[in-house]
């Protein structure tokens, strides 16, 4: 690659990054329910673990993350993501997270502190970072500026 080609290449890489950022910022990030009635925006969490499963369901996709502590004890978190249609418009699908893969998830805990029926800790996902650094399922109904 000569210098000019390299410059063009870098320029296009930058334009991709800029466009991708704008595109992400541009899409609706909303839910059918009041975020504040269900989740606590002050109780932020970051968990690192492995994907147990992803359910591509409405009105929100859910994924479960197994987190192992130093003693080998596993705690499972269930994260609410955006709706499948909102995720699909950003290019993600039911295969964007694979069972067994390592992820880091940023999110918010549910207000009621009650586990889901399967015993998992209930939370809302702000975004997932895969082991290779790629980010998926970005956005949360917490981004909703609409105070319902």
């Amino acid at each position: 690659m000569d210098e000019r080609t390299m410059q063009n290449y870098l320029k296009f890489k930058l334009s991709i990054a800029a466009c991708a950022t704008l595109l992400t910022a541009a899409l609706p990030m909303l839910a059918h329910h009041s975020f504040a009635a269900e989740y606590d925006s002050t109780k932020t969490i970051t968990v690192k673990g492995t994907i147990q499963k992803l359910d591509w369901v409405n009105p929100h996709a859910y994924f479960w993350v197994d987190v192992k502590d130093a003693n080998g004890k596993v705690t499972t978190y269930a994260f609410e993501a955006l709706s499948p249609n909102a995720l699909a418009r950003q290019g993600w699908n039911r295969n964007s997270l694979q069972k067994g893969e390592e992820v880091t998830v940023d999110g918010y805990l549910a207000k009621d502190g009650k586990p889901l029926a399967d015993g998992s800790i209930h939370a809302n996902s702000k975004g997932v970072t895969r082991a290779d650094g790629r980010k998926v399922f970005q956005g949360s109904s917490a981004d909703d500026a609409y105070t319902k």
């Binding site: 690659m1 080609t5 063009n8 290449y9 296009f12 890489k13 334009s15 991709i16 466009c19 991708a20 704008l22 595109l23 910022a25 541009a26 899409l27 609706p28 909303l30 839910a31 059918h32 329910h33 009041s34 504040a36 009635a37 269900e38 359910d55 369901v57 409405n58 009105p59 929100h60 859910y62 609410e80 709706s83 499948p84 249609n85 909102a86 699909a88 418009r89 549910a110 207000k111 009621d112 009650k114 889901l116 209930h122 909703d144 500026a145 609409y146 105070t147 319902k148």
Partner: protein, 259 residues
């Protein structure tokens, strides 16, 4: 240029094209900047942003009427249309709902958002000389039939989405009159209404890329006077509605605790 470069160019162009195809919820708030956004959002406000592209002149139907057809994304979903001129009892209800962080909003239970409230998802307008149909991706996949064939309002009442009939003012403005509501839906920003709700929407298309809806709401049961605001939609090109089946796994309803 190498194949890798070609790939990068293609991706950059595709992404850039995508930006025009999926207009942002903030990008078409140009009406706010040009002074045509008549209200302030009770929750989100009118906001700021750059104009989304006009994309070309407004299209017309074969009968010469303006075409309202397309897949439309709300330019500013956060704009609630409020604050509404509420009677004291209705203001008290609104205050209680807001204190509870809107936990009892019917929409959280996968019930219709009603009219003229919208969901954060796109809607598709299909038009014939006798009928305008609005298909909603969100709002539990509900639909509105706007009859343009001259019939009077239906005798059916207590309706979630109301009964809509439309008449043309010239070839450019479609006036949609909706009545026969129940009192179960919430207005934008969680304000209540009664079954006396009467919604008049004036649809117009200033260019290919935009749909303007000038809305006037009357409700002698809950309002002190009629209230008007404008909602703007951006055209989404080369896409269509996606599936959204709210009741599939709505576990939210069991965890909406409010405060």
């Amino acid at each position: 240029m190498t194949m890798r470069d070609v790939g990068s160019v293609a991706i950059a162009l595709a992404v850039a094209a995508g930006m025009t195809l999926v207009p942002s919820k903030t990008s078409a708030q140009d009406p706010a900047n040009s002074g045509t956004q008549k209200g302030k959002g009770g929750g989100g406000g009118a906001g700021k942003g750059k104009a989304s592209p006009t994309l070309g002149p407004a299209p017309r139907m074969p009968d010469g009427k303006a075409s309202m057809q397309g897949v439309w994304n709300p330019a500013n979903f956060a704009f609630t249309g409020g604050p509404y001129p509420l009677q004291p009892w209705a203001q008290k209800v609104l205050d209680e709902r807001r204190a509870n962080l809107s936990k009892d909003d019917p929409e959280g239970y996968c019930l219709p958002a009603g009219v003229p409230r919208i969901s954060p998802f796109p809607q598709k307008t299909v038009q014939t000389p006798d009928l305008l149909v609005i298909l909603e991706e969100g709002n539990i996949h509900s639909y509105r039939q706007v009859f343009l064939d001259g019939r009077p309002h239906s005798k059916e009442d207590q309706l979630w989405m109301g009964d809509s009939i439309g008449t043309w003012e010239g070839n450019d403005v479609l006036v949609v009159d909706t009545t026969n509501f129940n009192d179960k839906t919430w207005l934008g920003g969680s304000a209540p209404h009664t079954d006396k709700l009467h919604v008049i929407e004036r649809f117009s298309r200033p260019d290919l890329g935009h749909l303007n809806v000038d809305i006037t709401i009357e409700d002698p049961g809950a309002f002190t006077k009629p209230h008007s605001f404008q909602r703007v939609f951006n055209l989404m090109q080369n896409t269509d509605l996606l599936e959204y089946v709210c009741n599939e796994f709505n576990i939210d309803k069991d965890h909406l605790v409010g405060k």
